[in-house]
């Protein structure tokens, strides 16, 4: 898993590259936390175009970060999910708290 970031205006774009499962969850959690806290962004976009795999462990990682950023009033958006990720998001109602947006980095 590789967590890449880019700042544009006050938006922090984060790209997840690789597989998000139990093996990579802890690293991903820490990497997301670190860049989200350092960036001083007004909004965050997590781009999943290069996420080749994700299971329900990934939902836990994303919701956990949502809770942390919600306390600071920073909204998180999701872009470019795979078919499978999208189905899991719809099942869990994730888009209600982290809406899907169009566009790429």
């Amino acid at each position: 898993m590789e967590v890449l970031t880019k700042m544009h205006r006050n938006i922090l774009y984060i790209s997840l590259n690789g597989e998000l499962d139990e093996k990579t969850a802890e690293y991903t959690r820490l990497a997301l936390e670190k860049c989200m806290l350092q960036a001083n962004a007004g909004q965050i976009v997590i781009d999943l175009a290069n996420l080749s795999f994700m299971d329900s462990t990934g939902i836990g990682v994303l919701i956990g970060r949502y809770k942390k950023m919600k306390d600071r009033g920073i909204p998180i958006f999701i872009s470019n999910p795979s078919v499978q990720a999208e189905r899991i998001f719809n099942m869990t109602g994730l888009y209600k708290i982290m809406p899907k947006i169009k566009g790429a980095i």
Binding site: F53, D55, V61, Q84
Partner: protein, 154 residues
């Protein structure tokens, strides 16, 4: 009428999280003779990953020990795959409750309790049972699109 069994595969792996990616890739490769679609393979990988993760996280409590064994048994009967993922871990006291959406026994971690719901949705059939001598057996089935039903000229 029973379908004719055309292939079988069985593997055992220690319950370590680094084996998850290998396990789902192995089951996907086992099905390659059916010429599955990209979506069918992704669905299958996701479901297998859910079951294996549950063995690592719940059954064996993240011990990551070589002594904790997960068995993955696959059977291809014509266009239908049956995959049985079993452990000898702590077992599930109330299986019906465990399979409810959003139900998780993990209090302090970040778990959504959606693993079984994902397996249910990505496979055609799932049953969960107690394993003989302790632990859990998850049996899932998936029907693959027959060649003739696929859009031709891809």
């Amino acid at each position: 009428m029973n379908k004719k069994i055309i292939n079988t595969m069985s593997m055992t792996i220690p319950a370590k999280s680094e084996n998850e990616s290998f396990a789902r890739a192995a089951v996907a490769a086992f099905c390659s003779s059916l010429d599955p679609t990209v979506d069918e393979i992704s669905d299958l990988k996701t479901a297998v990953s859910e079951a294996v993760t549950n063995c690592v996280v719940h059954a064996y409590q993240k011990r990551q020990s070589n002594d904790d064994i997960i068995t993955i048994a696959c059977e291809l009967a014509e266009d239908m795959l049956t995959v049985k993922i079993s452990d000898h871990g702590v077992g599930i006291p109330d299986i019906k409750q465990a399979m409810q959406p959003f139900y998780t026994t993990v209090k302090d971690g970040e778990r959504s309790g959606m693993g079984f719901t994902v397996m249910q949705s990505f496979m055609d059939k799932i049953s969960v049972n107690n394993n003989e001598g302790g632990g859990t057996v998850v049996t899932m089935q998936k029907n693959f699109t027959k060649e003739a039903e696929k859009v031709s000229g891809e």
